[in-house]
């Protein structure tokens, strides 16, 4: 049997697509409006209670301030969720998990920072264990200030996100790819130089055609240094002799 394996191309060998090459069909933009409308009307929020603000989420989700009539439902796995709700302050240990979760979500994805602690540190500004400005580590679409915001405020913030999606302003997931060096730099400052996640952001950026001149930089070079080089997967097939069935 022929044992030659097809080599999976290593990142350096990938051809960089030129921008604008993907959308050549002139009719591709016809359904964009409809797609955005539908996306804004069926958002799945990730059910991850990261901080104190999560206690006002059950009232917002249940019958009194019903959030489901707007199409917003909780979802348990990040791979099928659209919105990452960061409800409250972010401690450094949780921030790592939030970044991992954010990178696992499929685009387009949106981040909402609830409570004033995500804006500028809030009342824990002197604390050694919380992250102050969330925008340094993840791109945020909407902030809902309060301590804590009422369920009506949460719903009105979500409505604003829906309007942003419909009008095309909520494109912060693209910012993560376009400015990855900035975000990675802040993450490395907090977590150490050998911080890495299982997700290959730069290859995804290339796939989505969102590489800008600020994606790669000194921090991504550090990431490359600490990473193990990508090896081709080896498949070992053992061929059994054909037996009489």
């Amino acid at each position: 049997m022929n044992n030659e394996l097809e080599k999976i191309p290593v990142r350096n060998e990938l051809k960089v697509l030129e921008s604008g090459q993907k959308r050549t069909n002139p009719l591709a933009n016809v359904f964009d409006g409809l797609v955005k409308f539908c996306q804004s009307r069926s958002m799945f929020m990730l059910h991850y209670c990261t901080g104190c603000g999560a206690i006002e989420l059950p009232p917002a989700m249940t019958s009194r301030f019903d959030m489901e009539r707007l199409g917003i439902q909780p979802m348990v796995t990040p791979r099928q969720a659209d919105i990452l709700l960061i409800t409250g302050y972010v401690s450094i240990k949780t921030l790592k998990r939030i970044i991992l979760t954010y990178e696992q979500m499929a685009s387009p994805k949106y981040v909402i920072g609830i409570c004033s602690c995500t804006v500028n540190g809030g009342m824990y500004w002197q604390s050694y264990a919380t992250a102050k400005v969330l925008r340094d580590y993840l791109p945020v679409d909407v902030y809902i200030a309060g301590c804590m915001p009422r369920p009506e405020a949460v719903i009105s913030g979500l409505r604003e996100l829906m309007e942003d999606i419909k009008s095309g302003r909520a494109e912060s997931w693209k910012k993560y790819y376009q400015h990855y060096d900035f975000y990675l730099g802040n993450q490395q400052k907090l977590f150490g130089e050998d911080w890495q996640t299982p997700t290959d952001i730069i290859a995804e950026a290339r796939h989505y055609d969102l590489v800008s001149d600020q994606t790669l930089g000194e921090h991504t070079a550090l990431l490359e240094k600490h990473q193990k080089p990508l090896e081709a997967l080896e498949m070992r097939l053992s061929v059994k002799e054909k037996q009489n069935l």
Partner: protein
């Protein structure tokens, strides 16, 4: 009934040497003891005076006197009173015995004090970090760790320049004192 038990407890404690005790009210007693005699005193309280519930172990950092003060709060369900046993250990080696074999809840508090103050308890079953697993700075609750300086060094703040302030500045006004100067 509880008055007699309190009198009995007072007499029990005053019989032991190297123990100073002071009764604050009918349900709170403060005992000061040397650090070598503490486990024996706790065993006596648990065995003979039914103080079976360890409410908390607190550590206070007296940095000027270069000592750590450890306080063991024990409660008795029968006499309905709380005895707080205070002891001091020198700050420098920062090692003490664990009382896990007497009171099992001590494991949590000793682990907590170990990661927050850097104080080691010999004989405690679990000295691994619990809360600060990804922290590699100094023990944060010590008085020589300045939390605000740490924050100013490692984080930066959001720039706050809203539109209404820009309008005022265009007309010639502005902020007179910056928030950093007030603090």
């Amino acid at each position: 009934m509880s008055k007699e038990l309190n009198l009995w407890l007072d007499s029990l404690l005053s019989d032991i040497e190297s123990v100073q005790f002071r009764r604050k009210n009918s349900r709170r007693v403060r005992v000061d003891v040397a650090s070598e005699a503490l486990p024996a005193l706790l065993e006596l309280l648990q065995g003979r005076a039914s103080y079976v519930h360890l409410s908390a172990i607190t550590c206070v950092d007296w940095i000027e006197e270069e000592q750590f003060e450890l306080i063991y709060h024990v409660w008795s369900y029968e006499t309905n009173s709380l005895v707080s046993v205070h002891t001091r250990i020198p700050r420098d080696p920062g090692v003490y015995l664990s009382i896990y074999d007497l009171y099992q809840p001590a494991a949590f508090f000793e682990r907590d004090i170990h990661e927050m103050y850097g104080l080691y308890f010999e004989g405690s079953p679990d000295m691994e970090k619990f809360i600060l697993t990804e922290w590699n700075g100094p023990p944060p609750m010590r008085k020589d760790f300045d939390s605000e300086a740490f924050v100013n060094q490692n984080f930066h703040w959001e720039q706050y320049h809203p539109q209404w302030l820009k309008d005022i500045e265009e007309e010639g006004g502005g902020i007179t004192t910056r928030p950093e100067d007030v603090r």
